[in-house]
């Protein structure tokens, strides 16, 4: 099946950067109420404005291979990178996942995230693939980094 690429199975079996760590500025808990998938996520971001760096994303997740892999890829692709770049990745991921298959995803921007491109064919699974990202953006809100998200919305609208 196209959906279950080797990379997804790898990430879901061995989630990268899993476990909850300190320090962190925000901890959030997100669930997918239709299937019961859950993720607890902590983020540690330093610096301000365009200087902001995602130092750590740590998490404890329970869910299907798609949600586990997506969260693992989120951590892998984001840790150590500037927040603005991570948010660009988020936008590209979201665009790919909600494109119904029209946007195959750009590996330059979303890295291993392209392995999730097959999810776009299955509308019921898009939520699974976005669960970790929803937790991440919520954690940004909780830690007072609304500005970065607002800029993102303005940039894409």
């Amino acid at each position: 099946m196209d959906l279950y690429q080797e990379l997804i199975l790898e990430h879901s079996k061995r989630p990268q950067h899993a476990g909850l760590r300190e320090p962190f500025e925000a901890e959030v808990h997100h669930v997918n109420p239709t299937c019961g998938d859950e993720v607890t996520m902590r983020i540690h971001v330093t610096g301000e404005g365009s200087e902001a760096i995602v130092e750590d994303i740590s998490y404890d997740a329970l869910g299907c291979s798609i949600s586990m892999a997506s969260t693992s890829i989120l951590a892998e692709e984001s840790i150590g990178r500037p927040l603005t770049e991570v948010l660009t990745t988020y936008e590209a991921m979201k665009a790919m996942l909600t494109s119904k298959g029209e946007d195959p995803g750009d590996e330059e921007v979303i890295g291993d995230g392209v392995a999730l491109s097959g999810v776009a064919q299955y509308p019921a699974r898009v939520k699974c693939a976005l669960l970790g990202w929803m937790a991440f953006t919520d954690a940004l809100h909780q830690s007072g980094r609304q500005a970065a998200l607002t800029q993102l919305e303005e940039g894409t609208s």
């Binding site: 099946m1 279950y4 079996k13 299937c35 019961g36 798609i66």
Partner: protein, 428 residues
């Protein structure tokens, strides 16, 4: 005489009544629909009945004196009679609702802190601090959340009957759980996850000893088992139309007459009234008291056609047929050590649903692999999250059967299931 499952030829004839079963899904796979517990398909007889109503009778029943309205009223009330007879009830004790969820909410919202001044006998439906509502750990959210909310509104306490590891109600402590404080016992007849058929007579007997009302969620039993409300002895019973070959948008609440008469209304407005003045209103007798607004006439007529269809097939044979499929599925799963069935693994007191987990693989992923082979099952917590917590699983895969399912479809499920350990690299 024990009823026999349908023969291959009979199932083929039944399937011909359901046009959707002929379609393919995904990359051309024939549809193997094992999700009738979520919603069943509709035979042409039901579709035709609905269409016939719109083509010949369409109008608002119980309103106006023109010819169409009279004929629509007769069709609507005739449907009520056939549906009532199907569960051994009188037409006037059958209330049409939007769905079973609304029927259960109607029952829960009848209760409040004080009696309704305009409805004699409504003190039966008062509840307050010190009173208790008893549910079970295997309830669908529709027969749990309304009672949680009722307790919150009135100050009553919610308690529940636990579930054993085998997926049956643990009735060892029933006498301690049902006490003089218990005012309502709300319980599911056939679990929508485990398939367990609960011993309703035992629960009714104990509940009635202390004067508690028994509300039965019969969504997964009325479509599959011969039900007689008098035999069951419950006080209120809810089921939905769309799980029994009927249309969506219609459910039923049956109640013992003296109870319905003493029940305050839930949804209020047009056609449920007796008199209306600016200062206040009085209400129509049941069932009209509980049917505010222009009713779902076509759906009632469609549901009556579904009842006729089931009567023609013989519900005892439907049950025997579904149990034969459950038996084959359980036997197939038993030979796959990487599968764990959640619920009873024998046919004793069982309905037509089977839930299971593939060790090490999330149910969503199992469902996706099955779907790829055209096999439609339900995955998730099936609106019974506390039950899944009880079994320490996030989600299960559930197959549920109807009269139109075949032995070959059970085998198709098992065959597709064998791909799961291959794809996810877990031991098989």
């Amino acid at each position: 005489m024990t009823a026999e499952p349908f023969t291959t030829e009979e199932v083929a004839r039944i399937r011909a009544d359901f046009p959707i079963l002929a379609r393919t899904v995904r990359a051309g796979a024939p549809l193997v629909y094992l999700d009738s517990g979520a919603t069943s398909h509709k035979p042409v007889q039901v579709l035709d009945a609905e269409r016939d109503f719109y083509e010949r009778l369409n109008s608002a029943p119980h309103r106006g004196a023109h010819a169409l309205s009279e004929e629509a009223t007769a069709a609507y009330e005739g449907a009520r009679e056939r549906i009532a007879a199907f569960i051994g009830a009188q037409a006037q004790d059958v209330v049409f609702t939007k769905n079973a969820t609304e029927a259960l909410n109607l029952a829960a919202y009848a209760f409040s802190n004080s009696p309704h001044p305009g409805i004699p006998g409504s003190e039966r439906f008062t509840l307050g601090a010190g009173d208790e509502v008893l549910v079970t750990e295997m309830e669908h959210h529709a027969n749990l959340v309304p009672w949680q909310e009722l307790c919150r509104r009135t100050g009553a306490t919610l308690r529940w009957i636990p579930v054993t590891d085998e997926g049956r109600l643990d009735l060892a402590t029933l006498d301690e759980l049902v006490t003089e404080r218990t005012k309502v016992v709300a319980v599911v007849h056939a679990s929508n996850v485990l398939g367990t058929l609960n011993p309703i007579e035992t629960i009714v007997e104990r509940a009635h000893e202390v004067g508690a009302l028994v509300v039965l969620d019969a969504c997964q039993s009325v479509p599959h088992l011969a039900i007689d409300v008098a035999d069951l002895g419950v006080d209120l019973l809810a089921f939905s139309g769309h799980k029994m070959f009927g249309p969506s948008g219609i459910g039923v609440l049956w109640g013992r007459r003296e109870l319905l008469e003493a029940m305050p209304p839930f949804l209020t407005g047009g056609s449920m009234i007796e008199t209306v003045r600016m200062e206040g209103s009085t209400y129509a007798p049941p069932p009209q008291r509980f049917e505010a607004g222009v009713p779902m006439t076509a759906q009632a007529i469609g549901l009556a056609a579904a009842v006729d269809y089931i009567n023609e097939l013989d519900i005892k044979r439907i049950h025997a047929h579904e149990l034969a499929l459950v038996d084959r599925l359980l036997a197939g799963l038993a030979t796959r050590p990487w599968v764990t069935v959640v619920g009873p693994t024998d046919l004793e007191s069982r309905g037509g649903t089977v839930a299971f987990v593939v060790d090490g693989v999330h149910a969503h992923d199992v469902g996706q692999v099955l779907d790829n082979a055209g096999v439609a099952v339900r995955v998730g917590h099936h609106c019974a999250w506390p039950l899944h917590r009880r079994f320490k699983v996030a989600a299960t895969t559930r197959a549920s059967f109807a009269a139109y399912n075949t032995v070959d479809e059970v085998d198709a499920l098992l065959e597709a299931l064998d791909r799961v350990p291959q794809i996810f690299g877990v031991a098989s």
